[in-house]
């Protein structure tokens, strides 16, 4: 059996794959956070709760209404995005002129309410969601077993991430978003309905979190704390990548996922803290993040 630094290749690749899957979730969630922060200047602490709502929407769709995974992959982001739009219109927009802290407090308070509601109704033990039949099973390669669903998660996440990157960096709409991030008042003076752009951006960023939630449902327990568990790491990813950086979110999310996976192999005790260790080093050496603009 081939050993890499004393670890069998099969075990190593298995952890790299798990790292890539986790990294895909980090990338999609941190990208949503980056898009929202860039446009609204709001640190959306409720992002994890929206991710959890996405997973729950898929679970409820299947168990109460018999709606398939594939349909919920579209419907859940739409539904949760719509809830986010109402949230932005009714609450969040009153805070844009205030310090970041107010947005953070409002979204943090919302997490407590949303999680509390789901805990009250469903408890904390978590529910399982079946892998769709089309994506069940795996491929037995000579050096490892490759579960198809995990490959699907990586492909779907990366497609979404690069689609968003392309839209923001290479299209007229993206140019408007980037310009509004820099000076929204001036963009509005050019006849652009910026308040609507802000609302839709928030809705879209949250819909991405819900999409990640649906992807996560078959491989993680659908439970109220699932958002809170992942969002702390995602915030670290955002800080390391650079607040508001699209490319930073994608590259850092995937990179840290793999690093976490490798740490599980070579130094299991540090697996849960390695991301925060990297954050510490980045904050000391490059406070604006690896891809952030130094001011």
């Amino acid at each position: 059996m081939l050993l890499i630094f004393g670890v069998p290749l099969q075990a190593l690749l298995g952890q790299v794959l798990i790292g890539l899957v986790n990294g895909s979730f980090y990338a999609v969630l941190s990208l949503g956070l980056a898009v929202i922060f860039g446009m609204l200047n709001v640190i959306n602490f409720a992002h994890g709760a929206f991710y959890m709502m996405g997973a729950f929407a898929a679970w409820m769709g299947l168990n109460y209404l018999g709606i398939s995974y594939w349909a919920m992959l579209v419907l859940s982001p739409l539904l949760v995005g719509l809830i986010a739009i109402v949230f932005e219109r009714l609450l969040l927009r009153h805070l844009y002129r205030l310090d970041h802290l107010y947005g953070l407090l409002l979204t943090f308070g919302s997490v407590l309410l949303i999680e509390g509601f789901f805990r009250g109704v469903y408890g904390v033990s978590g529910m399982s969601y079946p892998v769709p039949s089309m994506l069940s099973g795996g491929v037995d390669l000579p050096f490892m077993y490759l579960p198809i669903y995990r490959i699907w998660v990586i492909v779907a996440s990366l497609t979404l991430c690069f689609g968003v990157w392309f839209a923001v960096e290479k299209t007229k709409l993206g140019a408007l978003l980037r310009a509004a991030t820099f000076n929204s008042k001036l963009v509005e003076s050019f006849g652009i309905n910026v308040p609507l752009m802000i609302t839709l951006t928030f809705g879209f960023g949250v819909a991405m979190a819900a999409f990640a939630g649906v992807l996560a449902a078959p491989i993680m327990q659908v439970s109220p704390p699932m958002g809170g568990t992942i969002i702390i790491v995602v915030f670290a990813v955002v800080v390391i990548g650079g607040m508001g950086s699209i490319l930073g979110s994608i590259v850092t999310g995937l990179g840290l996922g793999v690093l976490e996976g490798l740490t599980k192999v070579y130094w299991p005790e540090a697996a849960n803290t390695v991301v925060f260790l990297v954050m510490l080093i980045v904050l000391i050496l490059r406070p604006a993040g690896l891809f952030g603009k130094q001011n």
């Binding site: 980037r178 008042k185 003076s189 050019f190 006849g191």
Partner: protein, 237 residues
Amino acid sequence: MSDMVLDIEGLNAWYGEAHVLHGMNFQVKKGEMITLLGRNGAGRTTTLRAILGLTDRRTGSIKINGREVSDLPTYLISRLGVGYCPEERGIFPGLSCEENLLLPRTIDGGNEWAMPVSEIYSLFPNLKERRHSQGTRLSGGEQQMLAIARILRTGANLLLLDEISEGLAPIIVQALVGLIEILKIRGYTIVMVEQNFHFAAAIADKFYVVEHGQIVEKVLREELEERESHLNSLLGV
């Protein structure tokens, strides 16, 4: 139909708790060019920003082509044909010269004022040459040309120009005089804020002196010569 493009009455504006404009009154006719003169902090830039609803709060009446706009959001005021060129030029980093040029929305349905990109490039050949460069990498003069070209493309015919000669070399300022003269011949209505009195004197039809958020003096172009020393003393030139 009245030929009054902009009619401002009793305009007050605030930034937070700071009350900056105290009952501004002035009118601008179609094809006219007026200049707001005054010392720093007098309220000239705030006047332009208040017209577009970019101040925190405002009261009073602002009519554009007879339509009351003081309760409209900024983007709808802009769509009535108002083009704004801010003091700091507002060239967006990360966007090329051409992306900056094409960024603003054109007025609904297009109109006879909307300048095609080809015409803009013949009027500003430097922008054509440097269209793929980052907007913020252009020289100060080129950035100013880009800021003006950007609003000409939209079909705006009421232009609000804030300190467009600021920080530019005399030869570029001279080119701007030529450009404004072309725009005047084409019939654009222009409200300009300017500190460079000599630049404004060469092109404006009327001069309003602003002090403490109010118009305190109005001077017509034909009166300029005899009242220049009085204006100079007001402006501290």
